[in-house]
């Protein structure tokens, strides 16, 4: 670790990488809220028949694995076949601006989805009450709805912030020589500089955990600006013309900064079909034999991780939701469970790698599974704890009074009522595991999951043509899509309560 302090160049590199990470994360999350909120509003409140399609399209970046998203953005903004072709030269070079665009692309759908959910659950009657008292629609939204939705807005900010801080796999593609925290750690791993890697990981973990705890503590106290009211200005901005402009801007941002860049990787994939790359791929020729192995490994790990997490996560979710160990302990547990959400995954992976390497008998696939377990665990526990909290305690009490033991209550009441959340949580875990790059990079030496392999291809460690990279990304999207679709259909068959 002393290496960093002795080498002033390394120190300043580490400091600027860490600050870049936080600045980018804060900036991107703020922009996410500013742009995502109007979009979510439009999806929930809009009256056009196309909203169902827009709502579905808003989910597409979810099914594109982030590592693929990184390559797709690089193609769109930087490579000659992308939007740069309109300008004659490369529009945006790899660096901080492209990182910001990338992080916006993958965190925007998260913010939209969380706020859409909150708006759908919101009791519209508060806004109606405000309107009948003389408030224009914008005034009603600002002074009443947004204040009531504050916890969800803060939650979406935290999620976007955490994703930006943590993302490694895709950032590697678009960073160029620029370094943020995870890229610094990745470079340190590549160069065998264990000291700097550990130090920067530690700082990132500590600062992000501190920020997370601070947001949790201070968030509820944050006052929304509801006292001041500007009736005439807000009335003008509530006018249908202003609303149309707002909705149009939201759609343009969504299309050109999120959707099209996310799916741009499809173009080389289409070319690959005609050029014979597809037949090579299907015949496992050249780089493709390694690719199929990696893809198989990714899905195997995801399946094991999902299963293990359900087994170990459910009891924790019940503990948190029912506060069986007292409120304080439940709050502490809740915070600790969330730590892997906010901590950069490569930093987490690095620290886990160092810890588990002391146990030489653990195979490498075990290390990958441990890393993925710790990263996906909070997603599942959070979703399940929230679902269990929504169950009326009276139902559990009724079941106990009728003679059910605690485990029977769990089996006959809690589990059937939270089935939907359980499958939804499992889907999220599966997708997150297949997608996970940062922590995997930090723990693997010989094994390669699909995202790690794609990083090698793009970084030129394995020589692969652009068509092969495009097709490799496309396969990952298609398989993720199919798996998610099957799971969703499976979930749909089970009723929501």
């Amino acid at each position: 670790m002393g290496q960093v302090f002795e080498d002033s160049g390394l120190t300043s590199r580490a400091v600027s990488a860490i600050s870049a990470s936080f600045l980018i994360a804060i900036f991107v999350s703020l922009v996410d809220i500013v742009t995502g909120l109007p979009m979510a509003w439009f999806i929930v409140r809009g009256r056009t028949r196309w909203l169902g399609i827009i709502d579905t399209l808003a989910d597409i970046p979810f099914i594109v694995p982030t590592v693929t998203l990184g390559y797709s953005l690089l193609l769109f903004w930087n490579k000659p076949e992308g939007i740069s072709s309109l300008f004659g030269n490369s529009l945006i070079s790899p660096g901080w601006l492209l990182i910001i665009l990338l992080h916006f692309t993958f965190s925007y759908p998260v913010v939209v989805r969380v706020i859409v959910g909150a708006l759908q659950d919101y009791k519209y009657v508060y806004e109606e009450a405000s309107r009948t008292l003389g408030a224009a629609s914008l005034t009603a939204a600002r002074t009443v709805t947004l204040s009531i939705l504050k916890p969800s807005i803060i939650a979406s900010f935290v999620l976007a912030f955490a994703r930006s801080l943590s993302e490694t796999g895709a950032t590697v593609f678009v960073a160029g020589t620029f370094e943020n925290g995870p890229i610094f750690i990745k470079n340190a791993i590549d160069n065998g500089q264990e000291g700097p890697m550990v130090l920067v990981s530690l700082i990132l973990i500590l600062v992000s955990a501190t920020i997370f705890v601070a947001i949790r503590a201070l968030g509820p106290k944050l006052k929304m600006p509801v006292k001041r009211i500007w009736p005439s200005t807000e009335r003008v901005l509530s006018h249908i013309g202003a609303v149309t402009i707002r909705n149009s801007v939201s759609i343009v941002i969504f299309l050109f900064l999120v959707l099209i860049p996310s799916l741009f990787v499809a173009f080389p994939a289409i070319n690959a079909i005609t050029s014979g790359t597809l037949s090579d791929a299907l015949g496992s020729v050249g780089v493709w034999s390694g690719y199929w192995q990696s893809l198989g490994l990714s899905y195997l790990v995801a399946a094991i991780v999902t299963l293990l997490n359900v087994i170990v996560g459910l009891p924790m979710a019940v503990l948190i939701a029912r506060k069986r160990m007292g409120k304080v302990l439940a709050a502490i547990l809740d915070t600790f469970v969330n730590v892997p959400l906010i901590v950069p995954s490569i930093a987490l992976g690095a620290s886990m790698g160092i810890f588990w390497k002391n146990f030489a008998f653990i195979p490498e696939i075990g290390l990958i599974i441990f890393a993925h377990l710790s990263i996906t665990y909070p997603y599942f526990v959070r979703a399940m704890a929230a679902a269990i909290e929504r169950i009326d305690m009276d139902l559990e009490d009724a079941s106990r009074i009728l003679g059910a033991k605690p485990f029977t209550v769990f089996k006959t009441i809690i589990l059937p009522l939270t089935k939907y959340s359980l499958f939804a949580g499992a889907i999220m875990m599966f997708a997150r595991s297949v997608d996970e790059t940062g922590a995997t990079l930090a723990v693997v030496t010989t094994l390669k999951t699909a995202p790690v392999l794609l990083v090698d291809w793009v970084k030129g460690k394995v020589s692969a043509t652009p068509l092969e990279i495009g097709l490799g990304c496309a396969f990952l999207i298609i398989f993720s899509f199919v798996v998610l679709l099957v799971l969703r259909l499976f979930v749909r068959g089970r009723g929501r309560y």
């Binding site: 009791k123 009657v125 508060y126 109606e128 009450a129 405000s130 309107r131 009948t132 008292l133 003389g134 408030a135 224009a136 629609s137 005034t139 009603a140 002074t143 009443v144 204040s147 009531i148 504050k150 929304m224 509801v226 006292k227 009211i229 009736p231 005439s232």
Partner: protein, 368 residues
């Protein structure tokens, strides 16, 4: 002064499949306490929300104070609205809730202070101005919601089941307070409820609605004494229904009930041979022990009785197997026991005759 006029208003939901309000027209006069009464899903709340501007009618016009308001947003209709759940803003204290209207209308601070104070004193909650909604009882929340609605100075008060979420005792107290307040402040009030006793006690006039249609509009007395519709007769007060045919129509109408039992009623509007339903209120039956020959007498025996405090309710199985319920004051007249043979009778002018409904009696009376 606020008068509300609704002309041929209709509203459909679910892509036109569910008709919530079906071609309704009515006029509500200035300073009138008016109620929309009907079972759940009859369209009363939908109609109120259209008057408030929270829903747009598919057809028809709504006028407030003679002005067409179809395209006027709720914030510009100058109304007060009390929601069934009160909709007190959970993130604001009582004071901020009550002064919200004046603030969004950008009145000056001094005026807002004065109105806030007046409104909270009026509902006796000034000392709870700092409390948040979750710290108040149901009755207090209702009073805050009312004062918030009135703080904007509106003379038209719309109330959507405002007493529905309260305990029975508090509901009775508040409904008297509500009417007194509306009359003292000379407001026009439109009150939605499914509780007929609440509507009867509080309203100047009532509109009875069912399945989106307005069946009858009138004072509580008119609806009770002269129901124009079987459903209204059943929904307002209590009723016995006996099926029969018109035997003959002379000065009075003679009706043949089941089992060749004959009774006379004053109503002569029906035709000979017509299938009818005879309605008699439980409190208009006279009742004596044994078999007595009297005008409109029917014989039977008591098959159950229920003590209800001020009244005793008897269930009588008639000779023709029809069943009637009779309500008699506890402290007036003799009491009867189960299995007593009795003669029941009613005056001809207290028998109401309705054409037998084409969909059947049960369907016509159903409140669901």
């Amino acid at each position: 002064m606020p008068e509300v006029k609704v002309v041929n208003v209709s509203k459909k939901f679910g892509g036109g499949k569910i008709v919530a309000v079906d071609n309704v027209s009515l006029q509500i006069y200035d300073k009138e306490y008016f109620s929309f009464l009907g079972p759940s899903g009859c369209g009363k709340t939908t109609l109120l929300r259209m008057i408030a501007g929270l829903l747009q009618p598919d057809e028809g016009e709504i006028y407030i104070d003679g002005k067409l308001v179809n395209n006027v947003p709720p914030e510009d209709r100058d109304i007060g609205f009390v929601f069934q759940t009160y909709a007190l803003f959970p993130h604001m204290d009582v004071w901020d809730n009550v002064t919200y209207g004046p603030r969004v209308k950008a009145w000056n601070e001094e005026k807002n202070e004065r109105i806030g104070r007046e409104m909270l004193e009026m509902v006796r909650l000034y000392e709870r101005a700092d409390a948040f909604p979750n710290e108040l009882s149901g009755g207090m929340m209702q009073r805050v919601a009312l004062s918030r609605a009135l703080a904007t100075g509106s003379k038209l008060l719309l109330l959507d089941e405002p007493l529905g979420a309260l305990d029975a005792k508090i509901r009775l107290e508040l409904r008297n307070e509500l009417r007194r307040l509306v009359k003292d402040l000379e407001l026009t009030a439109i009150h939605v409820t499914h509780d007929q006793s609440e509507a009867m006690a509080i309203s100047d006039r009532i509109a009875v609605m069912r399945k989106g249609k307005m069946l009858q509009v009138g004072t509580p007395q008119e609806l009770y004494m002269n129901p124009q519709h079987l459903f209204v007769a059943n929904f307002i007060g209590e009723s016995n229904f006996l099926e029969g045919h018109i035997e003959k129509v002379e000065k009075e109408t003679t009706i043949e009930l089941r089992g060749e039992k004959f009774v006379n009623v004053s109503d002569t509007t029906k035709k000979r041979g017509e299938r009818i339903v005879l309605m008699v209120r439980p409190e208009t039956f006279a009742m004596e022990k044994g078999k007595k020959r009297k005008m409109n007498s029917l014989y039977g025996h008591v098959d159950r009785l229920r003590f209800e405090g001020t009244h005793i309710r008897y269930g009588i199985r008639l000779e023709n197997e029809d069943h009637v319920e009779i309500s008699r004051p506890t402290l007036v007249g003799e009491w009867f026991n189960v299995d007593d043979e009795v003669t029941v009778s009613f005056p001809p002018d207290k028998g109401y005759v309705f054409t037998y409904p084409s969909k059947g009696l049960m369907e016509e009376l159903a409140v669901e």
